[in-house]
Symmetry: C2
Subunit: 322 residues, 2 copies
């Protein structure tokens, strides 16, 4: 099924030039940032974006700044050709795909210390990173990039606990993409709920003139939230992983029926995931805006969970508007 | 002497609208960020800006995000009416003055903890700040802003040692101003040498499409570097403060005559300032780009100094292109 072929742009200056040319023609631009290996979740973001702007830019870039050297950058799945086919199959298609090679490679920068310990960052060099504790694959590769955007309250807790460089890397790459693409609207999936709230807060705090739109989680027929990482699950692990969405749904029903004690709701989900063979990273019921844990559900909350099945870490969440 | 009257804009949305309207007419825009109480240093930045863009925006905003509660926010001098007169006296004038009331006051934000300890931040409330260690007047006022831009290597050392929130606050407010004014060129004075290099690095790392231009230090007839804080010096303190620029000049001459040992150059400056009654905060000879201390001058360096005279902290520097 062939549809509109997107313009593929790899150079950041060319990308900005494209956007500015379009804007000068009175067009509005929507950005859908992705790391590729597109699935129905991404497709739904793009369809939603079509409701907001004249033109759609999809960025496909696996951002080393949000991976620590112990995480799965080197095995993150990719299929650029397949991604383009999927984009062409969307009604209305997309107008441009921004697919840069390396957004942290600056000409003329003096080299900085790099690490030669074993790591999952490709192309590591030799040397010693300056900062212990919080180091991403960008520092480890010694790329000289040193500016980071941090959303200091919201980045704490949940995914921020187990992935200390993650949200710093996300906020920074999104800032870079905003400055390169200069969109009017940017789409984010609510599956990454904490990420979505962090980007909203960043846009407010840094006065970006960009509307951030959150799009609902897309689930497979069995209820598993769509994720590029699902491809790494064995059929058995996938079956076990359904314990996440099933127990979240039961918790939501229980809450709607008056069970507002978060400790008990949480225990039931943790028990269900553990029984299925999952290893809980976190399971928290938090305020939808502040992401602060609540003890009793008195206002809109979201139940967020992260759990390992085999070598795959999955996240999911369910809003409870009570 | 009356010249062109600038448009005075206090609302950030209005400011962006103005810029976009001008850009749509093909105009280029230069931004000169200031905290007001303008002096010849600022005027020279504006004159330099006229060489780069069609239109000039001067922002006048005393940024609470770069002051810690123990610093001099509450006594920072201001004279808005006088500033406008000075701007009107510049040949070509300026086109707009952006003079916002509070760039950290967001509607609808949930309140956060604030501090009621004695401080130099005006309008402090009650409560407890979340972060110890690095807290500016923004957090202390409980304004809910939580996103900060950090240039992690360059912000260390020199002014970053004695003013731990300073560069974080500068990088963040400049990001906000860039996103509001959307200039083509931004002017910074080399008197704040570390700040200038940090902004250059930030622009590169975050892919802002803005040219950062550094402008030379402007000195009074006696050689003292222009600063809004000079007004707080008594005549006696001012005389003593001349030890800074005089000893820096002597060090430069010595270096040009073959004295390349930085420890000896540094000792001579420290001794001169101490003898005059100043209290050295730092005196360092560093690489012009990386701002790393050097032991011998083999390539372009800058001699940076900060010293207290009475209650006033002054900074100055001299490039040595050897």
């Amino acid at each position: 099924m062939a549809g509109k072929e997107p313009e593929i742009i790899t150079d950041k200056n060319q990308m900005r030039k494209w956007s500015r040319a379009m804007r000068s023609q009175g067009k509005t631009i929507g950005l859908v940032p992705t790391m590729g290996y597109l699935h129905e979740g991404h497709i739904s973001l793009i369809k939603e974006a079509h409701k907001h702007t004249n033109l759609i830019v999809v960025s496909i870039y696996v951002n080393p700044g949000q991976f620590s050297p112990t995480e799965d950058l080197s095995t993150y799945p990719s299929d650029f050709h397949g991604d383009i086919q999927k984009l062409m199959a969307i009604p209305g298609g997309v107008d441009a795909v921004f697919h840069p090679h390396n957004l942290y490679d600056y000409a003329k920068s003096k080299p900085t210390g790099v690490n030669n310990n074993s790591s999952n960052c490709e192309n590591s060099g030799g040397g010693e990173p300056e900062r212990k504790g919080v180091v991403s694959c960008v520092e480890e590769r010694g790329l000289g990039h040193e500016t980071w955007v941090r959303v200091e309250r919201l980045e704490k807790g949940m995914c921020g606990n187990s992935r200390p460089v993650f949200f710093r890397g996300v906020a920074t790459i999104v800032t870079k993409l905003f400055n390169i693409v200069e969109p009017d609207v940017a789409m984010f999936g609510k599956k990454d709920y904490q990420q979505w709230r962090i980007i909203q807060r960043m846009v407010r705090d840094l006065d970006f003139s960009i509307e951030v739109v959150g799009s609902d989680i897309v689930r497979d027929n069995d209820g598993l939230a769509m994720s590029s990482r699902n491809v790494h699950l064995s059929p058995e692990e996938r079956e076990k992983a359904l314990s996440i969405n099933r127990s979240l749904s039961r918790a939501k029903s229980a809450a709607e029926n008056g069970q507002i004690n978060c400790r008990e709701l949480r225990n039931s989900v943790v028990q269900a995931v553990n029984s299925a063979g999952g290893r809980i990273d976190y399971a928290e019921i938090v305020d939808q805006e502040t992401l602060e844990a609540v003890e009793e559900i008195q206002s809109p909350v979201v139940f967020c969970i992260a759990a390992w099945f085999g070598k795959v870490r999955l996240i999911d969440n369910l809003e409870m508007n009570i």
